[in-house]
Symmetry: none
């Protein structure tokens, strides 16, 4: 389900956060669904419970999940999650576009790159057919 890569230079708790965010954004984990307990997930991934605890705390702080004492942690409303993910992505895109403009890069050149990214994966899916 989740996989941590020790060769990845980012801290493990960040990897866990990102993987969970991704699963929630893509609907693999649905609104209101209960997340695995800190201890069970720690056992599954063979890492320190403190690390999972930290990931969950951060996800709660950001608004992706909410915790109920004595019950567990749950996925927040999908509307909210979509908004959070979208805001982050668009902010990054905005910064990139601003920098590109400053460097004198035509915006059509950016479109082109986006088309390539979208088309590329589409091709792969077609090959699966």
């Amino acid at each position: 389900m989740i996989h941590v890569d020790y060769k990845d230079r980012r801290p493990i708790y960040e990897q866990v956060i990102e993987r969970l965010q991704d699963m929630m954004a893509r609907g693999v984990m649905e609104e209101g669904e209960q997340l695995p307990s800190v201890r069970s997930l720690a056992t599954d991934l063979a890492i320190n419970p403190n690390t999972i605890q930290r990931a969950y705390a951060e996800l709660e702080r950001q608004g992706y999940i909410y915790s109920v004492k004595g019950k567990g942690s749950f996925v927040a409303e999908s509307r909210k999650i979509k908004e959070l993910i979208g805001r982050e992505l668009f902010e990054g895109l905005k910064a990139t576009a601003a920098q590109a403009k400053e460097l004198g890069i035509a915006k059509e050149r950016l479109y082109q790159e986006i088309d390539a990214a979208y088309g590329e994966t589409t091709m792969k899916e077609e090959q699966r057919i």
Copy 2:
């Protein structure tokens, strides 16, 4: 000229690198121009010379500048810098686009955001008129 933010979580030497990359990309520092000496920039920013030294070493490794013992550090060819900056920007954009596709975001939505970024600044310039 350059400013370091101690509240920023990123290491100081990275902030210095990015600021200098940016200045070179925008042509504020021209090809062949001598950068401030390690010691003088360290004094200006009120940080340790070793930290600047590290930033310069990394910039040289990446190809943005070249350093000569006893002479100083100098901005590399602008052609090369444009290429380096462009490659980095497009790689980031590619990753963003791939993520957006995975999240089911229409690429037209990305175009829209880019147009906004390009248009926005244009608006500001027009307001100056």
Copy 3:
């Protein structure tokens, strides 16, 4: 295990890098194996931890090892290491051959030297028998 030579004109961190590269290339240190910690190796060699830190950072950048905060540093995949070492060696050989050609040295003379190096050690091994 490792030895630094203060009479050597090359910086200490480079000597450490080369010794470790050599050990990894020869299989003395195997894939995934944990390297000595920055502090312990520094103590062993009686040099400053920062110097070891720099060597490890460079080795990671080159792809020979990977480091994880709070865990340690580990030898990369042997396949990758073989490739890195081989590339370096052949590049050096290419430069030597090019220089030899320019000086009007027959390439058979180079073969001869290589045979000597290969044969010489073989002789030693035979003497052991």
Copy 4:
């Protein structure tokens, strides 16, 4: 005649040494021929006379040239120069071959690389015809 590259990371005096060694090895400068004076060469290359002085001193120490007080510096016997150049090149090759053997690389693989280096340039010369 000689050219120094400020972008080259090696110190200028080393570049001057190598260029002169090369010219002597290839017979561009003949046995007994007088080298340009320290001051005139310094002026030509627009660098500090101390730098040239250092290069000449090092070349004399290595046996490539000899100086006569009040007269100038002269190229040593070509037999000696050939020997010096050859010794350096073959020592490097020997070390490379030894390392290759230790890594389990077949010596035929080294021949191949040498052939490529010799052949490649030969091709270019043929194209000139």
